[in-house]
Amino acid sequence: MFLEIKDLNTYYGPSHVLQGISLNVEQEEIVALLGRNGMGKSTTLKSVMGMVKPKSGKVIFQGANIFGKPPHKVSMAGIGYVPEERRIFPNLTVEDNLKIGVKGGVVDESNPKAWTLEKIYEVFPSLKKRRDNKGANLSGGEQQMLAIGRALMGAPSLLLVDEPTEGLAPIIVDAVRDVLEEINKRGVSILLVEHNLEVAMSLAHRVYLMGKAHIGFVGTVQELDDNPQARAQYLEV
């Protein structure tokens, strides 16, 4: 298995925010993790990434145990993180924001997963025009593209992407969607947390629905489509 999360438990102080989450992602798959606000979707990504320390469980990535490892080790194992708030470095230029994502500072050309600046600019032409601008001066859509590009510069085989279309204009939402599809075609697996059901359903191969701190439904997009009860229980507001 490519990424296997088993019985993951995370606490914020006394509150038990992930109660035995199990989930897996196969190679070159897009898996969407959906659910209402506050169910623990972002926390699941953060717990895998090491941004939040999980209490118990198993996280195995490409055969290596990454449970409870600090973020830099998880990243070195081949996982890229695109956080919810984008978290662009505002005082760095667009190009430096990308360069800082390169592990060890030099692109390893022998690695087929490696992304060069040229390749990034090919997928994100809008970033090329803004390469010398400070991160702080970008629009929301550009920041989102940059956050994805920055993660790709680390040559990940799996991307954890948290709410990439949140707060973006519809035309930009489509652009972000297409970029994620393109990246997946180039061989990067994606674990996606997304509010926009249409985007999620059009991208994902499989879907997990989260209820409060647990997984309530697992299935293919088709299976979710055929299951109005699951949709009503976990998605509709």
Partner: protein, 293 residues
Amino acid sequence: MSPVTAMYVAQAIHGLTYGMLLFLVASGLTLIFGMMGILNLAHASFFMLSAYFCYQVVAWTDSFWMALILAPLGTGLIGVFVERFLLRKVQQYNLGHIGDLLLTLGIALVIAEGVKTIWGTESHQVVIPPSLEGLVSVAGLEYPIYRLFIIGLAAAILSALAFILYKTRLGMIIRAAVSDADMVSALGINMPRVFMFVFGVGTIMAGVAGVAAAPMLTVFPGLADQIGLDAFVVVVVGGFGSLFGAVVVSLFLGELNAFGIQFIPRLAPVLVFLFMALVLSFKPMGFFGERDD
């Protein structure tokens, strides 16, 4: 040059000397706070400790130059030890600022009592090396070579620091970490190691300032009091985490100090704080602040 102009120039160079020393202390303090969110109350104590090390090395080897190298390095080693084995441990408990404050205050107290125990409460003189003794004549003005040496030394360190920060990958990582260290670590960068490095370099710079100050101010247990307070003012007014702010405000405070003593000696000790209060009422984040917690 008329005597009045000469006096102004001399006072300005005096202010510049102190401003540069202040910068060496404050830049480490601001970078450590900016990156790690740690307000290091022991920072100025490292300045003082290094001055004592300087006194000791000069006593043993009779060489100021040896002291200029060894004392800051020794201080830096202690700084690295403090970061690696004490601060990092305390931070695991997620106590927020209170944990860091209590720990660094404790370290400051240990250093303050430690130097009294080892070296006594009296002042120790460190002699200026012969090559830096005496006065030099600049445009008809007699000025102590040693102070000019300090200005040059600090300017060299400032240039090196600016080079690292703006021209190297390590500098890029440090600048990014000032705004969001967690995100930097999610990109595969070993932040604990970067923290240790920055903490070490910060204490080394405070150490260099301590050695430079030793011959001018003599070495005594209260040595760090003024520069410690002033360094905090610099960090607050310049903006937490802003190296540029630290440079500008350090130099300004140096001059404020020098001319304050010249013109309004009775008010001089509080001028710095008046200045801080004034700035904070209009710019609560300081002049060049980027961090918002």
